[in-house]
Structure formats: C-alpha cells, structure tokens
Symmetry: C2
Subunit: 324 residues, 2 copies
C-alpha cells in the first residue's frame, strides 16, 4: 500500500506522482462488484489540477509538501471524479476524458451508485486525515453542497436561452470554483496557515476556477464538431447554455429559436457555433475570463512564498494557454 509508505514530507513533483498512485490504488483496492468500473475510470488520466492546487497551497517554507496533502489531494480528485460520473448521468454524456463515459459503458443506474461509491471513498480519505483538522470538515461539506447546488442550477437552466450572465457566473462558481477554492483552502490548512491566509488562498482558487471554467466553455466554441461522429460532446448538444452563447444571444436574439430546437444535428451545431463566434460571443466571454485571469495573477503575486508564486503562476499560465 502506497498510503502506508508515504514520506512525512516530499517535493512538489514527487507529491504529484504520489497523488496519482494513491488515487489509482484507492480506486482499485476494492470489492469485485465495482472493480470493472474502477478500472474503466483509472484508465483515463485527468490533469489532476485540483490536487496540484492543493499541493502547492500546502508547500511549507522549505518547499516540501506534507503527507496529509497527498491524501487530501487524492480525496479532492476522487470527489471531482464522483461529480463527473453523476454529471454524465445528468447530461447523458457519452464521452469523458476521451473514453466512453461510465454511464454509457455500464448504464445510468450503475453510474449513479458508482458516483455515490466514489463520494464515500473520497470521504474515507478525508476521514483519515481530518482527525488532525476536526473543525475543518465543515468546509468540505460546504463545498460539496455548493457543487450540488451548482449542478442543479445548471440543470434547471438547461436550454434556458434567457440565462443571465449573473446566473451563469453563479452556476460555475458552484460547479467549478467551489472545488478549486476548497483545494487551495485545504492545502493551506494542512500547511498550518492561519484561517485568514487560508481564506486568501481559497479566493485565489475561486478566481482561477472562474477563469478556468469560462475558458473551458469558450473552448467548446473554438472548433467545429466532427460532423461524421454520431454522438457529439458539445454544450449545445447537451443543452448547456454558457457565456459565449449568452453574449451571442444578447447581440442577436434571433438565434434563440434555432437553439430552442430539440436534438440539434451536428451540422446545425456547427452553424450555431460559427454564428456565436461571428457576432463576438466568444471574444466577449474571453474578456470576462481575462478579468478573472488577471485578478488571479495579481493575487498570486501578493504571496510572499516564491515557491508557491512560481507553481501557481505555472498552473495559471497553463490554464490560460490551453484556453487560448
């Protein structure tokens, strides 16, 4: 068991690798009932962005990451995975991380239970370390609640072509930023920062999450969907209204009735994408992402710890570069 072999503290790079191994081990060391699903999930690697943020936030002044941060990093990634599994049930998404989604491969009902199981596994990791931060468990449950509400808010506004910018921002604050924020907060607490410092880290996470999600939503409007593919993984196909579309609809309200149709064909989706780009929806959304990006950058540069500054700026750069 890697968990029992984790060093008391380790470098940032080793910690990233340790999180990856611990996640795999935790998921695969299981009852045969869920083994096949866990194998399916571990076959696709994520970027482990949330764990990275947690690890950076947990760096001590000598540049080492404590053991608890590795466990918390795995917990936060498994929690994220749980939300993805349930998301895919809700959105009826067929593809996830380049593979068939769990609900597509094993069925919706199995995916519901599997998501629940992942929640439990994540919580079990939290339970292991929370003995040392008993009064902080509340933050974890609050973040989880925010994520659920974000999901629900998104779902309720599916196909809602009147979705306001404010409500869009509330949705992504819940479904994405809450976890980014939790990751940064937890890392800081594990690094024995004061609550005030931890809240500052949490706000960096929050703003980075906002930039990340808006860029991610823009990315969906960056390229044509492959028209030959029968199943299209695109927000439009899943009736999810995001910022580029909101701005495009404000500029060109006539688009509304074209979106309103059930089951858009790949061709129709491509046409709408082209229109959204043409009227400036994507570039306006980018401007908002940039505001969050700049705010995050500014906050990072306030930090005293050069190590944290370096790694957080690296992560932020990568998010910005991938999104542009």
């Amino acid at each position: 068991m890697i968990k029992n072999q984790l060093a008391e503290k380790t470098t940032y790079q080793s910690a990233i690798e340790a999180v990856r191994l611990l996640m795999k081990e935790t998921l695969l060391d299981t009852d045969e009932l869920v083994l096949e699903m866990m194998q399916h999930l571990t076959a696709a690697d994520g970027k482990n962005l949330r764990a990275r943020l947690l690890l950076v936030s947990a760096l001590d002044h000598e540049g080492f990451v404590p053991r608890d941060a590795v466990i918390a990093g795995a917990a936060v990634e498994i929690l994220h995975l749980a939300t993805l599994v349930h998301d895919d049930v809700i959105d009826e998404a067929e593809i996830r991380r380049g593979h068939a989604s769990l609900q597509k491969r094993f069925g919706k009902k199995e995916a519901v239970i599997c998501g629940d199981y992942l929640f439990c596994i994540s919580l079990a990791l939290v339970a292991e370390i929370s003995i040392r931060y008993p009064e902080k468990l509340k933050e974890f449950t609050q973040a989880m609640t925010k994520i659920c509400l974000g999901e629900l808010r998104q779902f309720k506004h599916n196909s809602d072509t009147d979705l306001s910018v404010l409500n869009y921002l509330r949705i992504i604050a819940g479904k994405t930023s809450a976890l980014f924020s939790l990751a940064m907060y937890s890392g800081a607490i594990i690094n024995q920062c004061s609550d005030k410092e931890a809240r500052f880290m949490a706000r960096i996470g929050y703003n980075m999450g906002m930039a990340f999600q808006i860029l991610d939503d823009c990315a969906d409007y960056q390229s044509d969907v492959v028209t030959t593919k029968k199943s299209v993984r695109h927000d439009l196909a899943e009736e999810v209204v995001t910022l580029p579309l909101i701005y495009a609809l404000l500029k060109q309200p006539e688009l509304k009735h074209r979106i309103g149709q059930q089951h858009l064909s790949p061709t129709e989706i491509n046409e709408i994408i082209a229109e959204v780009v043409k009227v400036g929806g994507v570039s306006m959304a980018y401007d908002v992402a940039e505001k969050y990006y700049l705010k995050t950058r500014k906050m990072i540069n306030v930090l005293v710890d050069e190590n944290k500054k370096l790694h957080l700026n690296e992560i932020l750069d990568r998010i910005w570069k991938v999104g542009n």
Copy 2:
C-alpha cells in the same frame, strides 16, 4: 433555529420529537433551488427507526439523551433518505411512503442531484458533532460504503433467479443492517461507551436490521397487489429477488421461467405471490427472520441498563409485530 435551542440533554421522547423537528428544519432551511423537493420529502413522515435506535443507544444511566445524539439522529435519517431517493432512481419506483417518489414527481436527473444534496446535508450535521469524536468519522464512511455496495450488489442480482441465500443476506447486510448498526454504534460513542460496548450495540443493530429487512421482504408477499392500479410497487415488479422467492424457487424451480418475463402484469404478480406462499417460501423466510429476531432479543437482554433494554425491546417488538 431548533438546533441552537437544543437542550444539553433531554428525555428519550423529547429527543425523538427534536430529531423530527431538526430534520424538517435542516431540509427546509435551504436554497430555493431545492426547496420544492425538500417540501415534497418532508411531507411524508418516516418511522425514524434508525434515529430511535441511535437515541436509545445514546441514553445515559439517568435516562437522558445528550444533544449530539439528536443531531446524529437527524444525520442518520437524512442519510437514509438520500439512499431512498437514489434507490428509487435505480428501481424506477413510483411510490415512496405513500406519496409519489421524488424521481417520479421531479424527474430522475433531479433525483440524482437531490440525493447527492441530501448526502451533503447529512454530512454537514456529522461535521458539526464530529469535532468531539474525530477518530470515529471513519465508521460513518465505512457504513456509507457498505450501503453503496449493498445497493450495487442488489442491482446486479436483479432478476437473478439463481441468487443464493448467502448472497441475499450479503445484500441486506449492506443495504439495511449497515445503517442500523451505524446508528447503534454512534449512539454508544456519543454516550461515551467504550469501543467494545459500542461494537456490541452495533451488533444488536446489525441483527435487528437483518430481522427487519427479511420481515419487510416477507411483507411484500403478504397481500395481493391491487390489480386495478397501473403501477405496482412490489419487489417482483422491480425485479428484486428476496428470500421468500429464493426459497420458493428452491422448492419449485419451474417458477423460474415465469419470473424471467419482463414486465409482469399485476395478475401475474398476484399468481406468483400466491405460489410463493403456497410452496412455503414466505414461512421459510419467516423462520430466518425469527432467528435474527431471537438473537437480537437475547443480545438486548444481556444489557445492564434497564432503560435501554426496555426501549430496544419495544422497538424490536414493533418490528416483529408489524412484520407478522
């Protein structure tokens, strides 16, 4: 807020009422996004059996229940509610506690998120008190994991007319006894019992849960389903194979191909029920329930605390009476 007004300790009867109020308050004090679903859920009262067990187990030697037990009781009932909401998605059940199930009334997707939300709310209550029992959070996550696996095991054996008695017992140990056991364990810990005593209480809960679930499964074979109703809430309709059917199939293997048919009509279900009763499936299942019942009784009577003995015997009697 009732939570802030809870007395340091209270009588058993007041504690039951306090759990009911706290549950209602916790569910209804929420975002408008989930309010309607929460109102729907709180409209139907449950028996709060798991909370009762927790409260009894938490009784001190003067017959009072500490405040934490009321909070834990509400947490355990909300956790139970979360599992019911997801169960109904899995089983596509239309009726729950005499009302339309959440998934029927609001949709499957909403029910998935709502179940997740209930998990979070339950966990938030746990987080409030776990500060005082930090090393016990693990028990909570382990019970949750067992429940998930029990659910999954049941689902995998849907329509499995070869389900063994042993596998049936493993299913109900997970889906029902794990929570009964957790309730009793938590109460004992809150009452500052030793871990050994708490484990003994947990075993009483486990055995009572087994008796309860087998009786509940027998009850499904006790009366004809109403043939005029279009939707039938019966294990057979939901393809759940339980002990009376397992025994009937052992006695009369020819029944298998009649069960195997998809979508049994109410008439067919009534015929199979009659057959299961006739060949002795129900009475054999009762015999097993009785074994667990007697074992539970015996364990309860070992307890020194007369108050606990009294209330646990009352609960056990009621379970047995309702089931017979």
